[in-house]
């Protein structure tokens, strides 16, 4: 085979390998949907978005505490720690069953082009703030567990 033919063949093979790699990855990696992400937020009022963010923060606070409390229980399964874990699970259910419903009702109205009910927004905001105080109390409860364990 002539040298130039070999070079051409080598270049072709290299090109196909690169193209195969690129298409293989593109076909198997998750592709973001155009409707997902932050674009839907453009149609929602700042007040309801603020509630949405507050809900997410409360949700994150609960899920963030699940791992560490499980680790503490694994190290030393005191009743205090186990009860704290049960409360976190109960709070998660309450957050979903009550506060998510309130939030989604407000979001639905605005996504459909309507305006939110101010009284409903005020109640949902107030209720979520109260829930957040309960969730924030988990840290104090755990601290008290540690004091109890240290005695």
């Amino acid at each position: 085979m002539r040298l130039s033919t070999r070079r051409a063949l080598a270049a072709l093979v290299a090109g196909v390998i690169v193209a195969t790699f690129a298409s293989g990855c593109a076909a198997t990696q998750p592709t973001p949907s155009p409707a997902t992400g932050a674009d839907w937020r453009d149609n929602v009022s700042p007040e309801v978005l603020e509630l949405d963010d507050a809900f997410q923060a409360a949700h994150d606070a609960l899920t963030d505490s699940i791992g560490p409390i499980g680790q503490l229980i694994a190290e030393d399964p005191t009743d205090c720690r186990i009860e704290a874990e049960q409360r976190i699970a109960d709070q998660l259910v309450e957050l979903i069953d009550t506060h998510q419903v309130q939030l989604q009702a407000l979001l639905k109205v605005e996504r459909e082009g309507g305006q939110h009910d101010e009284a409903a927004l005020a109640k949902a905001t107030h209720d979520l703030e109260a829930m957040r105080e309960v969730i924030d109390g988990n840290d104090d409860a755990l601290e008290s567990c540690e004091k109890e364990a240290g005695q």
Binding site: M1, T20, T28, A89, Q100
Partner: protein
């Protein structure tokens, strides 16, 4: 010579394609599929190893459940389609309940691990109860993935994270 060189190049190309595709494809979910059949505990004198195994399963399921809790919320937060939204919201309620059910097993799991009783029959019964409860919850958790797909989601998302919806 030309045929041999071309044949070898195509062979290498084929192998590389297979390697590439397998490297790019997301791996199987650790929390999906049928649960392993595990031997039931009979009355024996030392339950420590079996109890530790069941306790480890509990911890693994708790981690998987937490992932589902986080990921269903991520799906809800990112998707504005009302039809799908109701489906995801119902699934989130179910997942929250399952999480609560799983955590409620913790006191008995700890009792089982402590194995403070001298009654081996009682210990064996407790271990079998915990194993059965975990198996049942595992099946339900695996079912969540199917429900998530039925809602319009991506199969890998609920357990492992990723793009929640088909592109």
């Amino acid at each position: 010579m030309t045929r041999i060189t071309t044949g070898a190049a195509l062979c290498v190309l084929g192998l590389l394609s297979v390697v590439t595709l397998s490297a790019c494809t997301p791996g199987p979910s650790t929390s999906s599929g049928a649960s392993d059949p595990r031997p039931r505990v009979e009355a024996v004198s030392d339950f420590t190893d079996v109890a530790t195994d069941v306790s480890d399963q509990f911890q693994t399921q708790l981690t998987d459940m937490r992932n589902q809790v986080i990921n269903i919320q991520a799906a809800i937060k990112s998707w504005p389609n009302e039809g799908n939204m109701q489906c995801y919201l119902q699934l989130q309620v179910s997942i929250g309940q399952q999480f609560q059910d799983l955590v409620s097993l913790r006191p008995q799991i700890q009792t089982m691990v402590a194995n403070e009783t001298s009654d081996s029959d009682a210990e064996a019964t407790l271990i079998n109860q915990m194993q059965s409860s975990l198996d049942a919850l595992k099946k339900t958790m695996d079912g969540n993935n199917k429900t998530f797909i039925a809602c319009g989601g991506n199969s890998d998302f609920l357990s492992e994270g990723g793009a929640p919806f088909p592109g």
